[in-house]
């Protein structure tokens, strides 16, 4: 079993009309054994920027701590929050620093940039950025997620419709992957508010 499949994960981020949604599954496992069903993979950097980290949980936790540290330093120096594009470059640089001994994580970055234009991107474990205008996926269920998102996605969805689409896409995909699942966690961010919801799917 690959090191990326040690803990199991599923992450998706999708763009709507002046909003974005980022969602993850809730399982923390050690290969075939499930340890917890309330593990959070989506982390806040600032009010309008979130990062989801799939792959090895220990590296996700270490990387998250390093990113928060770098962002806090940036806030002290620049007296403002980081733009999502800048943050994506930061993550990419941090990952490439470890080119020959990488963090076993694939991040999904989602944020609202200038003028509240939604921004999403993903990258591989050594920081190769992949910008997208519609959706990005990551984790052990990524192949299913690509298929489901491709069929369900429509441009310019309103927040409620976006939430519904992301939820259905996530639950459908994790049902086909034994290493991810046990519910879902969806974060919907608009310029004025942030909605967090827990999904109940097939609990197995």
């Amino acid at each position: 079993m690959s090191i990326f499949e040690y803990n199991g994960s599923a992450l998706v981020a999708m763009v709507g009309k002046n909003c974005f949604a980022i969602a993850s599954d809730r399982r923390l496992g050690v290969q075939l054994q499930t340890i917890a069903t309330d593990f959070n993979r989506v982390c806040k950097i600032h009010d309008k920027l979130y990062v989801g980290l799939s792959g090895l949980a220990t590296d996700a936790q270490t990387l998250y701590q390093r990113l928060v540290f770098r962002h806090k330093l940036y806030q002290l120096r620049e007296e403002r929050d980081m733009k999502p594009e800048t943050f994506a470059s930061l993550v990419s640089a941090l990952l490439y620093e470890k080119r020959f001994g990488p963090y076993f994580c694939q991040p999904v970055i989602a944020g609202l940039g200038d003028d509240d234009v939604p921004f999403i991107c993903t990258m591989d474990c050594i920081g190769a950025k992949e910008l997208a205008k519609d959706f990005v996926v990551s984790g052990t269920a990524s192949e299913s997620l690509y298929g489901v998102c491709e069929s369900m996605y429509k441009p310019n969805m309103e927040p409620d419709e976006l939430f519904e689409t992301v939820s259905q896409a996530l639950l459908a995909s994790v049902d086909r992957d034994c290493l991810s699942g046990w519910g879902g966690y969806v974060l919907l961010v608009t310029p004025t508010e942030v909605q967090e919801r827990i999904l109940k799917g097939r609990m197995d």
Binding site: N7, Q33, I35, A36, F39, A57, T58, Q61, T62
Partner: protein, 204 residues
Amino acid sequence: MECVFGLVGDGFALIVADTSAVHSILVHKSDEDKVMLLDSHKLLGASGEGGDRVQFTEYIQKNVHLYQFRNGIPLTTAAAANFTRGELATALRKNPYSVNILLAGYDKDIGPSLYYIDYIATLHKIEKGAFGYGSYFCLSMMDRHYHSGMSLQEAIDLVDKCITEIRTRLVVAPPNFVIKIVDKDGARQHAWRESVKNDKVATA
């Protein structure tokens, strides 16, 4: 064949560990204490390679004491758990420790808590958890019988059910277990479950 498991009850947390010190087919002793009293209100149950287990847990214990001496107040359970994870994570890519840890503590304003720390430094706060071959039996027993806010008697009954299951179904089951508890009155040994008594060696 080492088993460590733990759970959180109403105002207390329990950690149970087997007490065999084994090298290949030889049992050196059957009364090895693997649950360390980290400070007055914390327990650290560890399983893993012999040298690493003792060295790492003693290192954590001394650093927790040092913090208390320097700052005049004890660490919270969450802080101690994050410190432990940080040490494991730093050592992971240099000189890894093969130690799995369950850290239980009681804080005055938060109550009892239990943390799961993998040997690769995955940290998660849990209500019930287990390590080792015994986990295959304990986790299922706890999934069936555990509920939040169990009384001490109910929790001890559940622990005894788990121990019975391990003794019945694990091929090289450890004969003896120690049960330690942490609550508002502190961390202390609660009971032993022995099926093989260690005779004291007569002095010359």
